[in-house]
C-alpha cells in the first residue's frame, strides 16, 4: 500500500482535524464564496474576515474528499494574517502549481502546503485541491478590500 504517498500524514491530520472549519453557517464575515464540484459532490464555502487590507481570519465549511478538506484547512492556516494581495498571489501560485504547462520552479509556496506536493502527480484530484482556493479568490473579489 502506497496510498500514503498521496495521503501524507500532514494531509491526513488536516482531514481528520480541519483547522478553521465551521459546522454551521458562518456569521458576520466580510465576504463569502461557495465553490462546488458537481462531478463528485464536493462543496465548500469560504468566508473571510478583514481588517483593512489584512485577512485576519479565513473560515470554511463544507463537505468533500480528504484532499478537498485538507487543502481547505491548509489554505486557512496559510492565508490567516496575510494581506489581501498576498492571498491573491497564493491563489495564483496554487493554480500555477497544478498547471502542467507551468514550471514548478516558477512557483514558490510556503512549506505549510508541502503535503499537497504528492497530489500534483494525480491530475484527476486537481479540482479537489483548488476548490477552496478558487472560493477564497472569489470571496476576495467580492470583498470591500477589492
Amino acid at each position: 500500500m502506497t496510498a500514503q504517498d498521496i495521503y501524507k500524514e500532514t494531509l491526513l491530520e488536516h482531514y481528520r482535524h480541519p483547522k478553521n472549519r465551521c459546522d454551521g453557517p458562518i456569521q458576520d464575515a466580510d465576504a463569502t464564496e461557495r465553490g462546488a464540484n458537481p462531478r463528485c459532490g464536493d462543496e465548500v464555502e469560504v468566508a473571510i474576515f478583514l481588517h483593512d487590507d489584512t485577512i485576519e481570519q479565513v473560515k470554511f465549511r463544507g463537505r468533500g474528499c480528504a484532499i478537498c478538506i485538507a487543502s481547505a484547512s491548509m489554505m486557512t492556516e496559510t492565508v490567516n494574517g496575510n494581506s489581501v494581495a498576498r492571498a491573491l498571489d497564493l491563489c495564483d501560485q496554487m493554480r500555477a502549481w497544478f498547471d502542467p504547462a507551468e514550471s514548478p520552479a516558477a512557483v514558490s509556496l510556503p512549506h505549510s502546503l508541502d503535503a499537497l506536493e504528492a497530489v500534483r502527480q494525480h491530475p484527476a484530484r486537481k479540482k479537489c485541491v483548488l476548490l477552496s482556493w478558487e472560493a477564497l479568490a472569489g470571496a476576495i473579489a467580492q470583498s470591500p478590500a477589492r
Binding site: 496510498a3 491526513l12 458537481p38 463528485c40 474528499c65 484530484r125
Partner: protein
C-alpha cells in the same frame, strides 16, 4: 463464420483464469496484479480482438465501398462481414438495419436529431427513465427544448423498478417516443424492455433501448425485444473504442434523416441548390470513410463473447455480483445502493459512512483495484437518491473471487488510513 454457442450437456462454468490469459493486459508486468473492476465504464480487450484489428491493417487494408481492385474488395468484404456478424449477434432481420456509429452516445444522438426531432411538436411528450445515463437523457432533453416538447421521467418504485403502473400517461396519446436503458449503469437493474416495447408498439410509440450496459453479458435479440432502435458500443463488450452500433427497424431507418452528409452516403448529388438523393440505409448514415478495422474488431469481440457462451458469461457475472454484494454488505460502514443484492448485471454501487468515494477509489487504485467513483454520468438518478457520488465495482468475465477479496481488503486499508 457461425455464431454457435457452447450449450446443452457440454455446459461448464466459465474459468476466469483461462479467460484472463486471453487478455494481454493481465500478463503485462506491473507491481500488483490488476484487479480491474471498472467494466461498466469500459472492458479490457482480448488478443483475438487486438489481432483482428492488427490484421485488418497489415493484411487487407484499403478504402471501403470505393475501390475496384482486389484489395479494396477484400477490405469492403471484411467490413460488411463484420456487419453481418453483428446482425446475427443481435438477431436483426437484415444487415441494412445496422448502422456503424462512433459510440452508443453517437447512435442515440442520431436518432434524437435525425428521427425524432423532425416529428416532434410543442406539447408532445418524450419519456426517459430516472436511471438513464446522461447519454440517453441529454439528447432527448435537447430535442425537447428545441421543439417545445416535454421531457418526462419514468420514476422508480421502492424496489428500484420502472414505475410503469404509476405512469399511466406513458402510453398516452401525447407520447411520441420512449428511450430507456436495458441495464442501469449505477444500480445494475435490468429493465423489462421487451414488455415495455410490446406495449409501446401496441400504441405505435417507438422505443429506443440503450444496451450499452447489457451487451457484454445478456443475450440481445432485437426481434424478440420488439424495439424500434437499439444502441451500444464496442468498447464495453471487449471491442475497440471509437465504434458503436445503431440498430433501427427498417421502416424507422427509412424515415430517418442523416445527421451527417458527405462521401459514401449519396446516390445523386443535386446541382447547386437542387435536392440530393441519399443512398439507402446503412450507407445513408455512414458518411465519410468507414472504420473497417474498428468494425472488424467489433465483430471479433462478438465472436469472442459468443465463443465464451453468453449463458456462461451471464451466470458468472451474476454469481460474482451476488458474492461482492454479500461481502461488501458485511462491512459495517458500507451501504449498498438499493437493490444491489439482485443477482443481475455485474454492478455493485456503494457508499461508505465516513469515506468519500474518491478517497476509497484512490486507495483501492494504489492496491491495484480499479473501481469507479463519482456520479457515473447519472446525475438525475443520484440526485433522486440524495447522493452526489458513489463508489462502483463492476464485474466481467476475467474477474474472480480474488478481485472481490482485493476490493474488501482495499476498503479495510482505506478505513485504516482515514479513520485512524
Amino acid at each position: 463464420m457461425s455464431l454457435a454457442e457452447p450449450s446443452g450437456e457440454n455446459w461448464t462454468p466459465l474459468d476466469p483464469g483461462a479467460v484472463r490469459r486471453d487478455f494481454p493486459i493481465f500478463s503485462s508486468a506491473t507491481a500488483h496484479r490488476l484487479h480491474y473492476l471498472d467494466n461498466a465504464a469500459t472492458t479490457q480487450k482480448p488478443g483475438a480482438v487486438i489481432d483482428a484489428i492488427t490484421n485488418s491493417y497489415t493484411q487487407h487494408y484499403a478504402p471501403i465501398h470505393r475501390g475496384l481492385y482486389p484489395l479494396a474488395e477484400q477490405a469492403t468484404g471484411s467490413y460488411e462481414r463484420a456487419r453481418a456478424t453483428l446482425q446475427r449477434f443481435i438477431g436483426a432481420g437484415s444487415p441494412d438495419e445496422l448502422v456503424f456509429t462512433h459510440s452508443a452516445t453517437d447512435a442515440i444522438n442520431r436518432v434524437a436529431s435525425g428521427w425524432l426531432k423532425p416529428r416532434l411538436r410543442r406539447g408532445d411528450s418524450v419519456w426517459v427513465s430516472r436511471m438513464e445515463h446522461h447519454s440517453n437523457y441529454l439528447p432527448w432533453q435537447r430535442v425537447c427544448r428545441e421543439t417545445g416538447a416535454q421531457l418526462k421521467v419514468i420514476e422508480l418504485t421502492q424496489d428500484g423498478q420502472l414505475d410503469l403502473l404509476g405512469t399511466p400517461e406513458l402510453f398516452g396519446e401525447r407520447t411520441r417516443f420512449i428511450a430507456v436503458t436495458h441495464v442501469s449503469n449505477v444500480l445494475g437493474i435490468e429493465n423489462p424492455v421487451a414488455a415495455l416495447c410490446a406495449r409501446a408498439r401496441h400504441h405505435d410509440i417507438p422505443v429506443l433501448v440503450d444496451a450499452a450496459q447489457s451487451v457484454s453479458h445478456l443475450e440481445l435479440d432485437v426481434e424478440a425485444m420488439c424495439c424500434d432502435f437499439l444502441a451500444f458500443s464496442a468498447h464495453k463488450m471487449f471491442g475497440p473504442t471509437g465504434i458503436g452500433l445503431l440498430y433501427g427497424r427498417a421502416d424507422r431507418l427509412r424515415d430517418m434523416v442523416p445527421s451527417q452528409v458527405g462521401g459514401g452516403m449519396v446516390d445523386v448529388v443535386g446541382e447547386g441548390g437542387e435536392e440530393s438523393l441519399w443512398a439507402q440505409s446503412p450507407a445513408r448514415f455512414e458518411a465519410g470513410s468507414p472504420d473497417m478495422p474498428g468494425a472488424v474488431g467489433f465483430a471479433a469481440a462478438a465472436h469472442y463473447l459468443v465463443g465464451l457462451g453468453r449463458d456462461r458469461v451471464r451466470r458468472h457475472v451474476a454469481t460474482l455480483t451476488r458474492r461482492a454484494a454479500e461481502q461488501l454488505s458485511a462491512l459495517a460502514d458500507i451501504r449498498l445502493l438499493p437493490h444491489a443484492e439482485l443477482p443481475s448485471s455485474g454492478i455493485v454501487s456503494f457508499t461508505h459512512r465516513a469515506l468519500h468515494p474518491h478517497d476509497l477509489a484512490q486507495v483501492a487504485g494504489e492496491a491495484g483495484v480499479a473501481i469507479r467513483a463519482g456520479h457515473h454520468c447519472a446525475q438525475p438518478l443520484l440526485g433522486g437518491l440524495g447522493l452526489a457520488a458513489t463508489a462502483r465495482a463492476s464485474f466481467s468475465v476475467y474477474n474472480d473471487e480474488s478481485d472481490i477479496q482485493a476490493l474488501v481488503a482495499a476498503i479495510v486499508e482505506a478505513q485504516k488510513v482515514f479513520c485512524a
